[in-house]
């Protein structure tokens, strides 16, 4: 253990004098990274665990780390995950990659980890404890990106229907604020109606059906994901022209888009978060262990699918699931560099 630490320290010292803004090559082959996860009960989380498993087994096979197992709490409770984190400290892990049950209730345990010299990298469900790293998903950017796309598509502007998520949840507020900001920037657009679709197709369909009779002709629907297909069904049932509906990378949404494209040349875009964000967590932790100076707050772009990439991404999407990607060390390196330099982060990687 002492030799290992010395090795890492030497590597870190070497690096800090030579190349700072490059991939850190400090020896992490003896180090162990754990994934602490609070919930595995939906397709997104299942895909996330699978992505972690892929990156960890490959990294272990290549000798980059000694081991990188995933731990999921039996129940989705902050107290349980706090105990889990403390157990991981006891087991001597060098880094913990964390998808947290609560942004705040784990802070005590995270503090204990930092005090014990463990690197904590949170992603998706991030923690507010300052000593941890945060891979923040740019939810507001998900809102503005939709309006940017629309402005390009319909320069003359138009009337919008907004489908929001679950009321009172941080993610809903963030995406909504992005859409508000986008409408301010592209003032030729006007939101004429808004419903809460709860990120669920059936709810979105019901709510959109309910508000449609009160609305004028809609040019486009801005969404939060998991609601585009339901919206399309509502427009169809009401006998209205189907407007441009932004999709959210769900399998049913992409399939519908593909059908419409083949039938009528329907055009739109789709965006959401890739479950493989866990892989970014892994590489960030590995880089910190290797001695790199990494900004505490990192940014993850949304996975955007455009018209010409639809077939490729639909193939990457499991039936009933969400589109996934593969994040490599090279990509993570570019992202870290971009954040450190205050530049926009690189787009979601596609397979070569």
């Amino acid at each position: 253990m002492a030799a290992r630490t010395l090795c890492a320290a030497l590597g870190a010292a070497l690096l800090s004098t030579t190349a700072m803004a490059e991939i850190a090559t400090g020896d992490t082959s003896g180090m162990r990274i754990a994934l602490s996860n609070n919930f595995a009960g939906n397709s997104w989380r299942q895909a996330m665990l699978k992505s972690w498993d892929e990156v960890s087994s490959q990294a272990v096979a290549e000798g980059i780390v000694a081991e990188a197992p995933a731990f999921t709490t039996a129940e989705n409770q902050a107290t349980e995950q706090a105990a889990q984190i403390q157990n991981l400290i006891l087991q001597g892990f060098d880094a913990i990659v964390l998808n947290a049950a609560s942004p705040t209730a784990l802070n005590g345990a995270v503090r204990e980890a930092c005090d014990a010299g463990v690197v904590v990298v949170s992603f998706d469900g991030i923690v507010t404890e300052p000593c941890a790293w945060r891979i923040v998903i740019d939810f507001a950017g998900m809102g503005t990106a939709q309006l940017d796309y629309l402005a390009e598509k319909m320069p003359e502007g138009g009337k919008l229907l907004e489908i929001r998520g679950l009321a009172g949840v941080f993610v809903d507020d963030e995406i909504h604020s992005g859409i508000v900001k986008g409408v301010e920037t592209h003032s030729q657009f006007e939101v004429v109606g808004s419903v809460h679709g709860d990120w669920t197709q059936t709810v979105a369909q019901r709510e959109v059906s309910g508000i449609l009779p009160t609305l004028p002709a809609i040019d486009a629907v801005v969404t939060q994901g998991g609601d585009g297909y339901g919206a399309a069904q509502a427009f169809r049932a009401a006998g209205r022209d189907i407007p441009l509906i932004i999709m959210g990378n769900r399998h049913d949404e992409l399939t519908w888009w593909q059908e419409q494209r083949d039938a009528t040349g329907y055009e739109t875009m789709s965006l959401s978060i890739a479950p493989a964000s866990a892989q970014v967590g892994f590489w960030v932790a590995q880089q910190i262990l290797a001695g790199r100076e990494v900004p505490q707050d990192l940014l993850l772009p949304t996975l955007v699918i455009e018209q010409d990439e639809l077939d490729y991404w639909l193939e990457q999407t499991e039936e009933g699931g969400v589109t996934n990607a593969v994040y490599t060390l090279d990509w993570t390196d570019k992202m870290i560099e971009a954040v450190a330099a205050g530049e926009p982060v690189p787009p979601t990687p596609t397979a070569e």
């Binding site: 999921t72 349980e80 157990n87 705040t104 209730a105 784990l106 005590g108 941080f170």
Partner: protein, 311 residues
Amino acid sequence: MIIDWRELVRTSLPALALAALLGAIFWLQPRAMSYQGLNLLLNLSIPIVFATLAQMFVLTVGDLDLGIGGFVTFVACVTVTWLAEAPLVGVLILVAAIGLYAAVGALIELRNLPAIVVTLGMSFVWFGLAVIVLPSPGGRTPEWLIAAVRLRPPGIPLAILAAVGIGLVGHLLLMRTSFGVVLRGAGGNPRAITRAGWSMLQIRMTLYALAGLMGVFAGLTLAGITTSADANIALRYTLLSIAGAILGGSQFTGGRVSPIGAVLGALVMTLAASFLAFLRLNPDWQIGVQGAILILVLALRAVLDRLAGER
């Protein structure tokens, strides 16, 4: 002093279970066998010990409290908001909450309601109040409280000192005072207690107030450890506290309780989860195995009770 054999049997079982678990954990994870290791292993048990004692006070009179998890959550939420920003108001809210707990006891006694239903209803009230106090996760525990639970007394980790202290105080109060005898008697034979001139109303209110007090301590220590809170933070404590108290020798029928046993039971419940984590058991199995450990220990107790000539 006469040795109470029944008492000894009742408390020895959770003690043995605890020793076995600790032994297994030390074997699996030698790092745990240090001051810092024990601290990490046990510090989250302090609020669970308090919650288990709260449950035990309610069990004393033969009731079951399904609201304790919600109550601890509410206290934690008040701690990171009112107690931090306006300490006086915060203290008043907590005192009022204990009063409300006593009032619930009074309601159950006066209207002869099933406690299980009333406390289940109260759990939603507490959860609702917690959401009102802290609508989104956050808040900040007062520094003095964080410092208090972070204390590193020389030699023995705080969690162990706390467990011993809580167990002893509970033991003295319930098992060694005449007042404690009356409280326990109220669960075992309420008619005899009323005939002797005691008020069941006062007794139930006292026990519920004690439970509320323990719940407040649980919420305070939990918020101290986590440094922040959310409105779901302790919902699991309801079942943990029942399991811990029963494991420690309390009985659903009332009258038979053991504070020391309850403390040991709470520690066993805390360590069982860590033990399974160190085994790297698939999480899908963990809840089931935790339940199996519980059943195993309870079955052992039934056997020991019989051997000791009880019943």
